[in-house]
């Protein structure tokens, strides 16, 4: 019968770490200059492994492009010329793009990040559950897979992604913590079977900085 230790639950409160684990390890090794090898490390203070093995996001094979599905770059169709009414509508769109000023409203972007989609605007916090990115605290990221962009007068939808020239969505890594502990308890009656498993997954928190919109690149596409 597996039971969890009472003290375990006390220690597993979420701790927000403001320094990277690499910095902590360096401090301990410099304190014992004569003994740097792994052999003697167990006799000295070793920090607890707060981050479990790094989870690198791998694209599953089912989502990769198969060879018979690959595009021929020569056979992409070109857009046909617009009619009179259509050109009028395109002019309206172009004027809306020109007159767009970020001070009037709050633009939003739909971003694909680590297998999930988030609707995002300036100053938002995004929590990635179960993932610890290789990026360290304070690193600035550019989120490139933008599926949609929205403003006051018009929205842009990508098929499936908008080009990188049109948009830049910036984010910074604010926090790398553990989630609160989750409990998995299995019980089968009349069989003396009880198993308790407490686990904590990684979580990173990003703060979205700005959504920058490149007007000439969009007008070229029109």
């Amino acid at each position: 019968m597996q039971l969890a230790n009472f003290t375990l639950l006390r220690l597993l409160s979420p701790i927000s770490i403001r320094c990277t684990p690499a910095a902590v390890i360096n401090r301990t090794l410099h304190s014992s200059p004569a003994l740097l090898g792994k052999k003697y490390a167990k006799y000295y203070f070793t920090p607890k492994k707060i981050f479990r093995k790094e989870e690198i996001y791998r694209v599953p094979k089912t989502q990769l492009i198969l060879p018979h599905e690959r595009l021929d770059p020569l056979n992409i169709p070109e857009p046909s010329a617009p009619t009179a009414t259509e050109s009028g509508l395109l002019e309206q769109l172009a004027s809306a793009v020109n007159h767009e000023q970020s001070t009037s409203g709050r633009p939003f972007a739909i971003v694909h990040l680590v297998g999930k989609q988030y609707k995002v605007s300036e100053g938002d916090l995004v929590q990635l559950v179960g993932k610890s990115l290789l990026a360290e605290l304070g690193d600035e990221l550019v989120l490139e897979k933008v599926l949609a962009l929205g403003f006051t007068d018009f929205t842009l939808y990508g098929r499936p992604i908008l080009s990188r020239d049109c948009v830049t969505v910036r984010a910074t890594v604010v926090e790398k913590t553990l989630e609160p502990p989750k409990i998995r308890f299995e019980f089968r009656k009349r069989q003396n079977f009880r198993r308790m498993n407490i686990h904590q997954t990684n979580a990173t928190v990003l703060r979205i900085g700005s959504i920058e919109f490149n007007k000439p690149a969009v007008q070229q596409a029109l």
Binding site: T7, I65, P82, Q117
Partner: protein
Amino acid sequence: MHLTCPLWVRRIPKIYRNNDPFYLRNLYLQFSFLFRGRSSRCFRLAEQRVIKAFQHMNAMRAVRKDRFKQLCDERIDAACAQHGIPGKMLVDGLGRMNIQLNRKMLQQLAIYEPYSFKSLTDLVKQYHSELGIVPPNAEPPAPVVTRGLLQSPIVPGNRKYYE
């Protein structure tokens, strides 16, 4: 738990902590903190209720995902019905046009960005009208400028729809 001072103060070595009755009972009692009546205070009742609570928790894990999907589908269906389209038509049409927005994102747009959602429904209506499918109770869409690109396979994954 009401214990006398000596019991609180006594120190138990770590080796014997797992076998000490206080710790064995507290393991279940700490989860029964907000239960009703004596199930929150007495171990013999708390143990049963806590085990049942854990079983409910395990069973709900799979159910929670299905319920969230149902909620998303309901909301998309309700928002599309305002434009005269069934919800399935929207999701299918967007997939065929290779606009890969989640159901989670579609319901967010339907709630918070109604004009953006209307433009998506207009795209879907135009796509289906080019194929000859017209939903009966729908208003005609706002004019959509396609320039012949709506039906074409722009990316590899759509090829199966056009062959």
